[in-house]
């Protein structure tokens, strides 16, 4: 009613006042007028008695919403309010009554305000915050980039979770402890990936200054050689091999005149270099010089060449420039023996594809090795400037004595600590105009797709398609989805997406009481989880309807797990498809993993199971429990679990939500806390019947599942779509994403809910392929 009136009003006002609708097609000014005049007074009269002030009922204060915009900003809160008002649960009987007309007006206005997104124009595709690789992604990417499975990655600090997933850019932080681990990991990984010859034999000769022979203006004393006037000191030594040596002179000087003391260094009479000694007399410094020596007896001469002396005259003291030599070291490492090619690790052969030689200077070899590597590490062609810098890093290390391979290691370390590797970088245009949202680059798209479906870097094929600029074509995407889903890397999607959607990661924390549930153990935990993953993977790879997840009449078992369930005829360790006909089980909801993860250590929890279904199957999380839940008057609850739950529900404050959750959970009561079938609990016969909020009555789990499946299949489809879109984008969904979800649902339904269609439609959506805005409401 209100809605039909509203549209012309909007048009008239927009035309008359020249008001522009915002990017979403919502005229906030108009909405605000309506809010102030019609809605706010209604809220004040009906709700504020309880829901305002410092200790509002249910922790929910409604007097914090001065404008329509503030309502829009807290959409989630208002969705729950609509839910409660709509089911007639609010306002409660003792409040100022709300007439049917006002109730409709309130709900209509709220609903249209918070969900009215103009999907006809170009809705905002949203903006993803820079995402760091989480630890799974890191491990997988290292494996695919360098061929090393770096297990300690699972030892990185846990990645924080947002919106139920651990790949959300906003919450993936980078604390210093993690950077420390990245650094250590990079060293460990590169040392595994690349064989660098062990440092060769060490040659080292250390002499005190007084041990050198000297001539002319030099004497010894005070534990040093004193160059009081021009003169030299020298020593001879057998250089054991030809190559790079380092000469270290520990020296100081007294300053006089304008110049510092200068020393000329020569080898076998040939001057190599001059150094200026600036260290003061009592604080000598080590001056280090690289030398190249031939093997055999070499004579190294250190000569003071700029003595300066002015005699004392009247009041001015003598000026005397001297130099002092405390000790001398000559060091070298023997160049490593050439390595036998066959013994090199595979990763080494793949990475070190060039060697320096007489015709190939090291810099060129580095460039050959690092160019493909840098591009794969950054998941896009590395720029020339980037490549120059990384080659320079390796070259410099090499010049300073690091081996060729060791220098490559170093360069790779830099590559995999670089933000271009650790983050899924997307270059956002400086300005984005509403309605004109640019596409992300082909390479960024490849990265998004590959981390979504594989939790790792794009493979060569995806990068090739990106280079050819074909990756965003719908037909290409469709065929790529089919290919990628069949690839074994898609197991990562199963573990990371399904594992988190179905909350199976929490299964590790579930410790049922071993006296009450002796058949459960760590092995069953693993097998049960594997059953669910295999089942999900089966539906995905056979491209079945996603509804099969709910009501599939098969599962995957091996002998041990089949015995656990009491299902006969399955032999061997391998998991295989097993029909469930004749069993009281179907789909995910009756699998032990999910039944266990929603239980308490000593008993089932119908409330948790019910909430789990609302959260993860129906996509309608119940309102939060109010803080400071009122204590039950009678104190202890008595009777069977069902009776206790019913007593709990007798409390009006609890009833409104529990009447949503409890019947769902109670229908699964025939499965105990570790998912085994039972007909009795503590001597009482199980009653799994109940009436669902929509009025349908169910007798047991099978009824429940069929009802969920047949009555409103779109609700499950929407729930799964929203979860998967959130995981795909790496951000929480916003209200404007409703358009994307709606479009996907239309296509999905038209294609019998086929799994690959869901994935494909996500990939071709604007939300996935375009840069949008981050809305500051």
């Amino acid at each position: 009613m209100l809605a039909s009136l509203r549209i012309p009003l909007v048009i008239i006002l927009t035309a008359a006042l020249g008001l522009s609708r915002d990017a979403l097609g919502i005229d906030l000014a108009l909405r605000d007028q309506e809010y102030q005049k019609q809605i706010l007074p209604l809220l004040e009269r009906t709700c504020f008695d309880c829901h305002s002030g410092t200790e509002p009922a249910g922790g929910m204060a409604l007097n914090h919403f001065p404008t329509a915009k503030s309502v829009l900003k807290e959409r989630k809160t208002w969705e729950k309010i609509i839910q409660r008002v709509d089911i007639g649960d609010m306002p409660p009987p003792d409040a100022d009554p709300l007439s049917a007309e006002d109730r409709a007006k309130l709900i209509d206005w709220l609903r249209s305000t918070i969900t009215d997104v103009d999907c006809g124009r170009t809705p905002n595709p949203g903006s993803v915050t820079l995402r760091r690789l989480n630890r799974n992604e890191y491990r997988n990417t290292i494996r695919d980039l360098l061929g090393i499975d770096y297990a300690p990655a699972s030892d990185f600090p846990g990645d924080d979770v947002g919106y139920g997933f651990d790949n959300i850019g906003d919450v993936l932080t980078l604390p210093p402890i993690l950077m420390e681990k990245y650094l250590a990991a990079a060293e460990e990984i590169t040392s595994q990936a690349i064989f660098a010859p062990e440092p060769g034999q060490l040659f080292e000769i250390s002499l005190s200054g007084e041990q050198l022979s000297f001539k002319d203006g030099v004497n010894k004393g005070n534990g040093r050689l004193n160059f009081y006037a021009n003169g030299f000191a020298e020593f001879s030594e057998q250089a054991p091999w030809p190559g790079a040596y380092t000469l270290e002179l520990n020296m100081s000087a007294s300053k006089a005149g304008d110049d510092p003391a200068r020393m000329a260094i020569s080898v076998d009479g040939k001057k190599i270099r001059e150094i200026a000694v600036v260290a003061e007399v009592e604080n000598p410094k080590v001056y280090s010089l690289p030398l190249r020596l031939r093997s055999g007896k070499r004579t190294i001469k250190i000569e003071f060449i700029n003595d300066f002396y002015v005699e004392a005259k009247g009041k001015s003291p003598a000026q005397d420039r001297n130099a002092y030599l405390f000790n001398v070291r000559l060091v070298s490492r023997k160049p490593a023996e050439p390595t036998v090619a066959e013994s090199l690790p595979e990763s080494h052969k793949k990475i070190v594809i060039a060697q320096p030689g007489s015709l190939v200077p090291p810099e060129e070899a580095f460039r050959k090795v690092l160019q493909p590597l840098a591009s794969r590490a950054f998941r896009r062609p590395a720029t020339k400037a980037e490549l120059d810098r990384i080659v320079q890093l390796a070259t410099k290390a090499h010049e300073e004595g690091e081996s060729y391979e060791g220098s490559i290691r170093l360069a790779i370390q830099a590559l995999i600590i670089s933000p271009h590797f650790l983050f899924k970088v997307e270059q956002v245009p400086k300005e984005i105009k509403a309605g004109e949202y640019p596409k992300i680059s082909q390479f960024e798209l490849a990265t998004r797709i590959s981390y979504f479906l594989w939790s790792t870097m794009p493979d060569d094929r995806l990068l090739q398609l990106a280079i050819k600029k074909e990756l965003d074509k719908p037909e290409i995407i469709r065929s790529e989805v089919k290919r990628m889903i069949q690839d074994k890397r898609a197991n990562e999607f199963v573990e990371n997406f399904a594992g988190q959607w179905l909350t199976l990661r929490k299964l590790d924390l579930f410790q049922p009481n071993s006296q009450l549930f002796p058949s459960w153990n760590d092995r069953i935990r693993e097998l049960a989880r594997r059953e669910t993953f295999t089942f999900f993977a089966g539906v995905m790879r056979d491209d079945m309807s996603i509804m099969t997840l709910l009501d599939g009449d098969f599962t995957y078992l091996n002998e041990d797990l089949a015995r656990y369930y009491g299902i006969a005829g399955v032999k061997g360790k391998e998991f295989r498809k097993v029909s469930l006909s004749g069993q009281p089980r179907m789909g995910l909801l009756t699998q032990a993993s999910i039944l266990a993860v929603t239980s308490n250590p000593t008993r089932t929890s119908p409330v948790k199971r019910g909430k789990w279904i609302l959260d993860n199957v129906l996509g309608t999380p119940p309102p939060n429990p109010p803080p400071g839940v009122p204590e039950l008057e009678k104190g202890k609850l008595t009777g069977t679990l069902r009776e206790q739950i019913e007593q709990h529900r007798a409390n009006a404050a609890c009833a409104s939500c529990h009447k949503l959750m409890d019947p769902l959970g109670l229908a699964l009561e025939n499965f105990d806390a570790v998912g085994l079938w039972r007909t009795q609990d503590a001597g009482e016969k199980i009653d799994a019947s109940g009436v669902l909020p929509d009025g349908s009555s169910v007798k047991h789990a099978g009824d429940l599942i069929r009802t969920l499946r047949s009555k409103n299949p779109d609700q499950f489809a929407r729930c799964l779509t929203e979860k998967m879109l959130c995981f795909a984008l790496g951000r929480g969904l916003e209200y404007y994403d409703r358009c994307t979800v709606d479009r996907i649902l239309v296509k999905l339904k038209a294609d019998d809910y086929r799994f690959s269609t869901l994935v494909t439609e996500i990939l071709v959506s604007d939300a996935f392929q375009r840069h949008g805005e981050r809305e500051a409401l």
Binding site: A61, G164, T173, E386
Partner: protein, 447 residues
């Protein structure tokens, strides 16, 4: 005077097999030369337990010096003269303030910040800097590690952590600023390596100073990458790169400061390197407490936070007859059985802490016990787990704060006295002249 060997030369001769002696060689420059013992530094530690406590067994009935030890606190009887029980403190930031449910996430996030965290599942995380980090910013330059963030449970969990709050809130106590929580380390082996071998050595034979130089060159390289990238990205992304750059600089500082590790006259105890995270909670907890003691004893850091579990944890403790989950039990609905089990868990947690205090008390430092030079807070941001109230919190202090705290008393404050008043007092003890912290409205008087 004969010139001293440079650090470079010393290291070169050492070879690969030596780990701990590195410290012995490097330290005498400071600690052997001076004959007068320097004043022992003050250590500040924060221990947090989830889900509140069974308060009737926690709060002493008598106030002042003559208080009797209530049931739960009895495990601390040996250290009574170091114990201060503070009753009546409130964490207002954890209250709903119109945000609805989520008390666990809020009290975890607010416990050391006193802020009211913004309700979000991810986007726009907003908390505030935590008291340990303010302390670390002031004291951190003096030690190798500005602070340590430890815990027994990692961050990752599936699902929303608490009623629309991101898990970042319920799993992190320490916040460097309003948007960057500091993840905790849960692996005792990793901490051991950070404390005593400095770095996780790959190819240990490599000349160490060269390795340090190479690490620096890598850090320089990636810093340039990040700065270059920062210029090209939007505001939210820049925040991420700011975190990156901070982490890089922090690691760089640690490398530079790696010769600052100070060892007491009696040296580091001969402690074996832990193998990893033990399966048993009990053993895990003990090892982490040992690492905490080693860290403060070696003066590797002066600020530690220790989180027993993520706030709202539902771990069961079958080993003490409480196999049901802690969180479920804490919603006891007045059930005596459940309340008794909650009390058991409280006492169990505290007994682990008491072992830690035993250990710290037994370490001698400048003629006193290390515990004399500690200021240790232990408590929860929730009082009764069933009501989720954030006033009347269970908070105790151990240690004498180098003589600044009298201890051995129970002090009762008017209800709604901000916990942050205590933090403000603590900041003053380490010489930070702050006027306020969080929602403080004065400096707590402990007498």
């Amino acid at each position: 005077m004969a010139p001293r060997l440079s650090r470079r030369t010393v290291l070169r001769g050492m070879g690969a097999t030596i780990a701990l002696p590195l410290m012995d060689i490097m330290t005498p420059f400071q600690s052997v030369r001076g004959s007068t013992a320097p004043e022992a530094p003050l250590r500040i530690l924060f221990f947090n337990v989830p889900n509140g406590a069974h308060m009737p067994a926690w709060t002493p009935t008598k106030d002042g010096k003559g208080f009797e030890l209530p049931e739960t606190l009895k495990v601390l009887a040996n250290h009574r003269k170091y114990l201060t029980v503070l009753t009546g403190l409130t964490l207002d930031g954890a209250h709903a303030h119109g945000d609805g449910g989520g008390d666990h996430a809020r009290s975890g996030a607010a416990f050391l910040t006193g802020a009211h965290p913004r309700k979000t599942d991810g986007a726009d995380i907003q908390n505030s800097v935590s008291v340990d980090q303010v302390t670390a910013a002031a004291l951190g330059a003096k030690t190798r590690l500005p602070s340590l963030e430890l815990g027994l449970e990692g961050s990752a969990q599936a699902g929303s952590c608490d009623s629309g709050y991101s898990c970042a809130y319920s799993s992190n106590l320490s916040w460097r600023n309003s948007t960057s929580p500091l993840a905790k380390e849960i692996n005792p082996a990793a901490i051991f390596d950070r404390l005593f071998t400095g770095e996780n050595v790959a190819g240990a034979a490599k000349n160490k100073s060269q390795k340090i130089e190479q690490r620096k060159s890598i850090l320089d390289f990636v810093q340039e990458d990040a700065r270059d990238l920062q210029r090209k990205l939007g505001a939210a992304d820049q925040r991420k790169l700011d975190e990156y750059l901070y982490a890089i600089r922090d690691v760089e500082n640690r490398i530079v400061k790696s010769d600052k590790l100070r060892v007491g006259e009696d040296g580091i105890p001969n402690y074996p390197r832990p193998a990893g995270v033990p399966r048993e909670w009990d053993e895990h907890c003990k090892l982490m407490m040992d690492m905490t003691a080693l860290a403060i004893q070696s003066d590797s850091t002066r600020v530690v936070t220790f989180m027993y579990a993520n706030e709202g944890s539902n771990r069961g403790y079958p080993e003490i007859g409480a196999p049901e989950g802690h969180h479920d039990l804490s919603h006891h609905g007045k059930s005596e059985d459940k309340q008794a089990k909650v009390q058991k868990i409280n006492a169990y947690h505290l007994s682990k802490f008491a072992n830690f205090v035993d250990q710290v008390a037994s370490i001698q430092e400048n003629g006193a016990s290390l515990l004399d030079n500690c200021l240790i807070l232990y408590g929860s941001g929730i009082s009764d787990g069933d009501r989720h109230n954030h006033n009347d919190l269970p908070i105790i202090l151990l240690g004498r704060a180098s003589g600044r705290l009298e201890a051995n008393m129970h002090v009762r404050y008017p209800d709604n006295t901000p916990l942050c008043n205590l933090y403000l007092w603590m900041l003053h003890q380490v010489g930070i002249k702050a006027d306020s912290f969080g929602d403080s409205n004065g400096v707590l008087k402990i007498s």
